[in-house]
Amino acid sequence: MFSGYSCRYFGYLVSKKKYIVSIDDDCVPAKDPKGVLVDAVSQHVTNLENPATPLFFNTLYDPYCEGADFVRGYPFSLRSGVPCAASCGLWLNLADLDAPTQALKTEQRNTSYVDAVMTVPLKAMLPISGINIAFNRELVGPALVPALRIAGEGKVRWETLEDVWCGMCLKHISDHLGYGVKTGLPYVWRNERGDAVESLRKKWEGMKLMEKSVPFFEALKLPESAVSVEDCVVELAKAVKEQLGSDDPAFTQAADAMVKWVQLWNSVNSSG
């Protein structure tokens, strides 16, 4: 459960703090367009401490930041927002592209600094990257599940999908419980690691698993009775086993891992 990139989940498990920030070890602080170093931790905390607005899209992005607000036409009853569960940051230089894309565009570097934080709307799915992420551990800790391992999972990001699967679960559970997920700032500067073309040589299992996951998550409805994060993870694992288990053993393993993870979480984090 805790091998490779997933070793970090052990850290999430044993932490006693409210917020977690997790960044890959090949990332360093980025510079903003003014040349100032970006304090990614500080930005993540700001994101997590301010409400999210998943129920209606604000065209000026984050309404709570300095110099911005809700635009004309934004319903007033929705302006207090909901608690923010996770803050997904981005990457300059080497963006989090998959192996085929990076292999095709070997010279491509992300130089575009998009100065915005926004809430990903309710029901919208997205690929959450584990490279630069923060979350409210008290709110949704158990929902970050170290579950999906693809066959031949390697030591470079292009050969993993654990964070993307974790993110799909996290988003779905956040939507169900009325929390928000933000994306955008902060940026980190990501460096060269691994060879995309080399990664292509391995049969890329991830592609097939994602294709199966999308309709599953789209149609999934967690029961009303699932009111805690742990309940949600268990219900989600059940649904994965029932509906995806026969498609690929990786899903069955993921479902089992999710259940085990919740048990572990509860035993490590029980009081007394």
């Binding site: 367009p33 209606f56 899209f57 604000n58 065209t59 000026l60 992005y61 110099g67 911005a68 607000d69 809700f70 635009v71 004309r72 036409g73 934004y74 319903p75 007033f76 009853s77 929705l78 997904c88 981005l90 963006a95 989090d96 592209l97 998959d98 894309t101 565009k105 491509q108 570097r109 992300n110 130089t111 575009s112 600094y113 998009v114 100065d115 915005a116 990903v120 709307p121 309710l122 029901k123 919208a124 799915m125 997205l126 690929p127 959450i128 990257s129 990001r157 292009w158 999908l161 964070d163 993307v164 993110g167 994306t183 991830g206 592609m207 994602m210 294709e211 999308v214």
Partner: protein, 357 residues
């Protein structure tokens, strides 16, 4: 603080994209002086000017622009009794321009919108960006964290399903505003000095199932794909509400685009919005809308169009029936609005008959 761009000396665009396939619709009641500044980017295109207010007033169009102009008398003459669906004394009248256009694409802009500068100080050709947005697919079914994946220097991120990477057709491109932001009256009253100085360098697709407040100040759309749904409602003279014309259209087009599998983008381009309207006047126009939108939003969030509704007109008529059924109890205004929605479609079809085979 931000300033508008100085466009003096910029040559008129020698290769204007979609020159013969796009009309620029501008509602006005005052003058069109702002077009002087837009020359390099807009002069090659045909304008449709919808003159609101006093039809006897002569609106001067800067030299060199090719245009057709319609005042209230023209609207009444062309539509006859159906002219009742076109607002008077409100910029909502601009949708008459959408109806009479014969082009595939529309760009609409307000007469107090100037050319913006990007962070490098370069003048932003807003129309060119809108066209790029419209010609490029949208991705409403899965959010790309690097925003527009088709843009130079960007792509789909790891984990983005390959089967969804072709995207869908883009129906609407919603641009933004530097300087005076599009705030409602209460926010304007509380923050009269706030200016939008943040240039967010991204275009993104608004996900399926998500509603947004669509502003008509800087907007472009594919008339063939979504035109009939771009009705800007009953506002202004004789109506209990104003400043919700574009909002109403935005909610309608979004549910229809979601139903028909079309995309709506927001973000770039920016224009420079120069004039803040009077917040007290705005409050009087908007205040009913502020209450009503609390019911209108859940209405739109729960709209389910039938499988049989496969054209924009069919979707829109179905929507009008739902408005009549579910919102009339909120205020009799919605009963009138539902009727006007039907009148609008009838007028649209009359002026835009399907081409005979």
């Amino acid at each position: 603080m931000v300033d508008p761009a100085n466009t003096v000396g910029i040559p008129v665009n020698p290769t204007p994209l979609l020159k013969d396939e796009l009309d620029i619709v501008i509602p006005t009641i005052r003058n069109l002086d702002f077009l002087e500044m837009w020359r390099p980017f807009l002069q090659p295109y045909h304008l449709i000017i919808v003159q609101d207010g006093d039809p006897t007033k002569k609106i001067h169009v800067p030299e060199g622009y090719d245009y057709e102009l319609y005042n209230r008398n023209d609207i009444n003459r062309i539509l006859g009794p159906k002219a009742s669906c076109i607002s008077f004394k409100d910029s909502a009248c601009r949708c008459f321009g959408y109806m009479v256009s014969k082009k595939k694409y529309i760009f609409t802009i307000d007469d107090d919108c100037f050319v913006a500068k990007d962070p490098a100080g370069k003048a932003v050709n807003a129309l060119e960006q809108h066209i790029k947005n419209l010609l490029c697919p949208s991705t409403p079914l899965f959010f790309n964290t690097l925003y527009d994946p088709y843009r130079e220097g960007a792509d789909f991120v790891r984990g983005y399903p390959f089967s969804l990477r072709e995207g869908v057709s883009t129906a609407v491109s919603h641009g933004l505003w530097l300087n005076i932001p599009d705030y409602d009256a209460p926010t304007q009253l509380v923050k009269p000095k706030e200016r939008n100085t943040r240039y967010v360098d991204a275009v993104m697709t608004i996900p399926k199932g998500t509603l947004f407040p669509m502003c008509g100040m800087n907007l472009a759309f594919d008339r063939d794909l979504i035109g009939p749904a771009m009705y800007f409602g009953l506002m202004g003279d004789g109506q209990p509400i104003g400043r919700y014309d574009d909002m109403w259209a935005g909610w309608c087009i979004k549910v229809i685009c979601d139903h028909l599998g079309l995309g709506v983008k927001t973000g770039l381009p920016y224009i420079y919005h120069s004039k803040a309207s009077n917040p007290f006047v705005n409050l009087k126009k908007e205040y009913k809308g502020i209450f009503w939108q609390e019911d209108i939003i859940p209405f739109f969030q729960n709209v389910k169009l039938s499988k049989e509704a496969t054209t924009v007109q069919q979707c829109y008529i179905e929507l009008s029936k739902m408005v009549k059924e579910k919102l009339s109890s909120l205020d009799p205004y919605f009963d009138k609005l539902a009727d006007a929605m039907v009148t609008w479609i009838e007028a649209w079809d009359e002026l835009n008959p399907p081409a005979t085979a």
